[in-house]
Amino acid sequence: MSVALPAVDIARALTRISHEILEKNNGSASIVLLGIPTRGAHLAQRIAATIAAIEGTPVSVGTLDITLHRDDLRMRPPRPLMTTMIPASGIEGMNVVLIDDVLYSGRTIRAALDALGEVGRPKTVQLAVLVDRGHRQLPIRADFVGKNLPTSINQSVRVHVVEIDGVDEVLIANEGEVR
């Protein structure tokens, strides 16, 4: 197991992503940040705090649980449901930025797009991820990437965040190593 991204790099990446989101959307007024639980939700909170600090006004932030929209439900035991919290202002006509920790097959994001359809019709949907590890199985790409991390399909990528794991780091483990 090796550390691919230490805490200081994660902080820099999140700051850069915050600036990129603002740049692309001409400010924070039209943005709704939606983190995908569990770790994506914490990353969304941090990006929201950074954007608020840059712009001086708070930005809408929430969470979107996609479990019920997954296409692999039948292939594994049922997962516990996580919280969905859509900001009171809603997503109708807004620029929604989905935030997740790792982009891999793209299936989580496909499920997230379905889950969004249940909530409303945003103007645009963008995607920010901390790590893009490749091996996409669907035609999906991220708009904002913290770090492109070329991996073998046998490796696994684990993101740890202070709020849950006590430490900020991105780890790569080879097959058979303890995660």
């Binding site: 929209h69 292939m75 035991p77 516990p80 249940e118």
Partner: protein, 317 residues
Amino acid sequence: MKHLLSISDLSHGDALSILDTAHEMARVSSSSVKKLPTLRGRTIVNLFLEDSTRTRISFEAAAKRLSADVINFSAKGSSVSKGESLKDTAQTLQAMGADAVIIRHSASGSAQWLADSHWMSGIVINAGDGTHEHPTQALLDAFTIRRHLGAGSGDLQGLTIAIVGDVLHSRVARSNVLLLSLLGASVVLVAPPTLLPVGVESWPARVSYDFDSVLPEVDAVMMLRVQQERMNDYFFPTAREYSHYFGLNRDRLALMKRSAIIMHPGPMNRGLEITAECADSARSVIVEQVTNGVSVRMAVLYLLLAGLPTEFGGVDA
């Protein structure tokens, strides 16, 4: 856990996992698009061999919100009325590819029997078997109590709940005593001695014959329906006398804590176990129980049907 037959099969963690899942499902029920693709392509059979309004409609709504296909089957209008046995009915359902059967039957233990038989391979959910158990009703009651009196999460530690009336014939009472005590609440059964089952002293609940003395200490009063269709003997002298001692009325409402809620699994005998005034009062959550029933049943269907068979909640994504 493959089936949901009895509350006694659930662990504390299982029960909390169902309630937490129901909490998220409730959000879906209140959103503008009340439909999820989760159980698309699954077939669920409502096998109701005893009359029901709430439970059948509630399971049907829950299954449809999760995009499952629902087949309704009732004794009237089916070959059951021609004398077809449960075995043949079950084998027919198996041949049609039912992934789950929700069974309501007047014989205690029928759900267990169906689950243990090799007539069908699908999941069995007990929607009330005779006077034995009605697990999803207890789950929705616990969910309702938690929403009103708990912190909205966690268990029911520290709460006292009275279950009042026809305990003898009530599967709702049996399931509730097991579940509420599993979740840490203390349960008081209030009924005339004739309407208490033999062996009630072994249940995890206190027994009282004096409704008025119990009322000031309880956080929720759960009134049970007097099940006249199961009463083939004299259990109380007159309906008026029963109402006088064990019915919920205006005077008793005044004895309750201000925060206490009134519950009833329905259908109500208005004027017998509960007056219309109490049933329709602001402290009554009877209609909300029905709403919560859909969320709880969605949670049960999701946890039993969405993935591979497993223990409830024991898995980390």
